[in-house]
């Protein structure tokens, strides 16, 4: 049996080789990379693999256990779907960015120590930045820069935490860390920035809608879910995470209701779904951690599916705003169907994937007696159906007929969406087939399909739909308005320029003053000295001589003028040069005797 390779290595090599190829070969190669990685996945046995010695540290590139393998599995599946979705345009930047991104995310989940984790963590940012740049618009260029700045800041926070943690005697082991002391807290927040915590996560809704249509599929999959994975390994059962998760699950849905850009609506609902996972990490029971892993798995599938369906709409119409879309169900029936499957999955309809994973987390919250958490999550469940489950398909494919008549999405995009849609339904209908056996805690069993659970969930969803319908008919539903809604990204998008202007005024004023002083005075003095210093010194000595020789003022002025002229062209008579040399020698002699004493 052949040896398994580190999955990150396969993808990073692929990302490097893709730009060197051309035409059909490049497309086939890019699609082959995830397939090879998928075969490779089944060669990876449980245990520690691929140790590398670096200086005094041992880097572990492969820790294969139930936790890392379930994330590796969905990351691999999704990388194929994502590459298939973008393969038609055959853009080396898009394909390479996707493979780099996937490879670094797999590097993080397979990492066995914190240093390896940090390395791939930083690489993840590069993949995401390339995915945003791949949109190739001025706005995406600016968004990529903002993304880079936020994540470089997050990386520095994480690095500072890591260094302090190691300096305080902590180990490089990528295992549970006690949340005490500055180091672990900084690491906690470093992870939290990538996880899009409240106030720290505005980068997500700011930049995802600016990314390329394929890039955002990768972004929605890798960054936040690796952060969930890392938090589940390092800070499980941390009570503060429960409340962070509740805030993530509830607050963004209010924004989603009034947001006009459908990809931004999806970005808000992404944070809402990650909130459920973080609650699962915070509860830290066997069932809730299983719920986190299962929900990450299902979420990646349906969120990618939703982003792909809106991506296909953008591909054909160039529009993503609710005010500009509507009535596309006729032009793009398959895309519409896939979007509805994604919407049903995120809303946790029975037989769709969200149903079998989200309820694990809610059941654990109830079992732990967390009444407020449970009620908040139930509210978020109803809300997610309302804003993602109904709003996304309704405004894109139904609603007002925008008059747009376009072609159906291209075949490769339909195939990518089709695979994701089939998986959403299969996982939802048969959770025991392969999802539940992959979960980390085998002792925590769960059965989603009970009569009570199914009827309660259907009642919740149908009455949410009823509320939507009645509010629509009553004209109370907020009209779609072309607008920007302020979020925490205001702090750096408006605060950043303010800081820039402040720095500009203060630092550049110092700069200007220094410039005036040094360039205007000091340098000018030095230049003057070398240009006319010698004749000036010569004049200083010669003027008394000329006076003694009885020259009148006019003669002295003429002598002085000729001295300067000679200095400028370097043509002194031999006598003057010899006289200067004698004076210099005399001064040196005096200096010699004085210092000799």
């Amino acid at each position: 049996m052949p040896e398994a390779l580190p999955p990150s290595l396969i993808y990073l090599l692929g990302a490097l080789l893709v730009p060197l190829m051309r035409g059909r070969l490049r497309q086939v190669f890019a699609l082959a990379v995830p397939l090879v990685a998928f075969a490779n996945y089944y060669l990876i046995g449980k245990g520690i693999h691929w140790r590398v010695e670096l200086l005094d540290f041992e880097l572990i590139l492969g820790r294969a256990d139930a936790w890392s393998l379930i994330f590796l599995h969905i990351f691999t599946v999704l990388s194929f779907i994502g590459i298939l979705f973008i393969v038609r345009d055959n853009s080396p930047l898009d394909l390479s960015a996707g493979l780099l991104y996937a490879g670094s995310a797999m590097g993080v989940v397979m990492a066995g120590d914190l240093l390896t984790l940090f390395f791939f963590w930083e690489l993840l940012t590069m993949g995401a930045v390339l995915c945003i740049l791949a949109r190739r618009t001025p706005a995406s260029g600016r968004a990529a820069m903002r993304y880079l700045l936020v994540h470089v800041f997050g990386g520095v926070v994480l690095l500072a935490g890591l260094v302090l943690h190691l300096a305080a005697g902590g180990s490089t082991a990528f295992d549970k860390i006690e949340l005490s002391g500055v180091g672990p807290w900084l690491m906690f927040f470093g992870f939290g920035i990538n996880c899009a915590w409240p106030l720290l996560g505005a980068w997500l809704t700011d930049t995802y809608p600016e990314a390329s249509i394929g890039g955002v599929v990768f972004m929605a999959t890798y960054t936040t879910k690796t952060a969930v994975y890392v938090l589940a390994r390092t800070f499980p059962e941390e009570p503060v995470l429960i409340w962070i998760g509740v805030a993530m699950a509830t607050l963004p849905i209010f924004y989603a209701v009034i947001e006009n850009d459908l990809r931004r609506v999806l970005a808000y609902s992404l944070i809402n779904q990650v909130g459920f996972m973080i609650v699962g990490v915070g509860l830290g029971t066997a069932l809730s951690l299983n719920g986190t892993a299962a929900h990450a798995y299902c979420h990646i599938l349906y969120k990618a599916l939703l982003f792909m369906s809106i991506g296909a709409v953008i591909y054909r119409t160039g529009k993503s705003k609710a005010t500009e879309l509507g009535g596309l169900c006729r032009s793009m029936p398959w895309t519409c169907l896939f979007c509805c499957i994604g919407a049903a999955s995120i809303s946790a309809f029975p037989l769709f994937s969200g149903f079998v994973s989200k309820s694990m987390i809610m059941s654990s919250a109830a079992a732990e007696g967390q009444v407020v958490v449970w009620l908040a999550l139930l509210f978020a469940s109803a809300g997610v159906f309302h804003h993602a489950g109904i709003k996304i398909p309704f405004f894109a494919f139904f609603s007002h007929d925008s008059g747009i008549r376009c072609k159906e999405a291209p075949l490769n995009q339909l195939l990518a969406m089709g695979i994701a849609a089939v998986l959403c339904i299969f996982v939802g209908a048969f959770p025991h087939a392969f999802l539940y056996p992959m979960l980390p805690n085998v002792e925590a069993t769960y059965e989603p399909y009970t009569v009570g659970h199914v009827t309660d969930q259907l009642a919740l969803l149908l009455f949410s739909a009823l509320a939507f319908t009645l509010l629509m008919l009553a004209g109370l539903y907020p009209a779609e308005i072309r607008s920007t809604n302020l979020d925490a990204d205001w702090i750096y998008r408006k605060g950043g320029p303010f800081f820039y202007r402040l720095a500009d005024r203060s630092l550049n004023a110092i700069n200007a003053a220094a410039s005036r002083l040094f360039l205007g005075r000091v340098v000018k003095g030095i230049v003057n000295f070398f240009e006319s210093g010698l004749p000036r010194v010569a004049c200083f000595f010669m003027t008394p001589v000329w006076k003694v020789m009885g020259h009148d003022d006019a003669r002295i002025e003429a002598e002085r003028h000729s001295l300067f002229r000679r200095a400028a062209v370097g043509a002194f008579p031999v006598g003057v040069t010899a006289f200067s040399a004698v004076i210099l020698l005399g001064l040196l002699t005096v200096y010699y005797y004085v210092s000799g004493r």
Binding site: I258, H386, D401, D456, L460, M472, Y477, T484
Partner: protein, 115 residues
């Protein structure tokens, strides 16, 4: 004639091409069918919940209030109405700015294209 009109949210943005047959979803009688079907489904599940309570069917609840007839139905409805009303009347006036807010100095209100 009055009865066959589309709900305001389904009115087309641009006048439809008269030669084109409207899509199934945009035919007024189908829109009404969908809405009536939704009302029916809501009624069915509400009654089912009542039947469960009357017959003492065990839904394995975690909390006592999950046993109340129609708890999930009422919760879902109230949650969504609150969500929409708070978003529209509380959040939007606070946070909404012009579409080009970050691109240049703009007016503080969005431009309404359709209401």
């Amino acid at each position: 004639m009055e009865k066959s009109r589309l709900p305001p949210t389904l009115e087309p943005m641009t006048p439809p091409d008269s030669k084109e047959r409207p899509s199934w979803f945009f035919q007024p009688k189908n829109v009404r069918r969908v809405i009536v079907g939704l009302f029916g489904a809501c009624g069915f599940f509400f009654l089912l919940d009542v039947v469960f309570v009357l017959t003492g069917f065990d839904k394995h609840p975690h909390f006592q209030w999950e046993q109340w007839p129609g708890f999930y139905a009422v919760f879902g409805f109230v949650a969504c109405v609150l969500l929409v009303l708070i978003s529209r009347f509380l959040l939007r006036p606070l946070v909404m700015r012009g579409e080009d807010y970050y691109e240049k100095n703009s007016t503080p209100t969005g431009d309404k294209t359709d209401a």
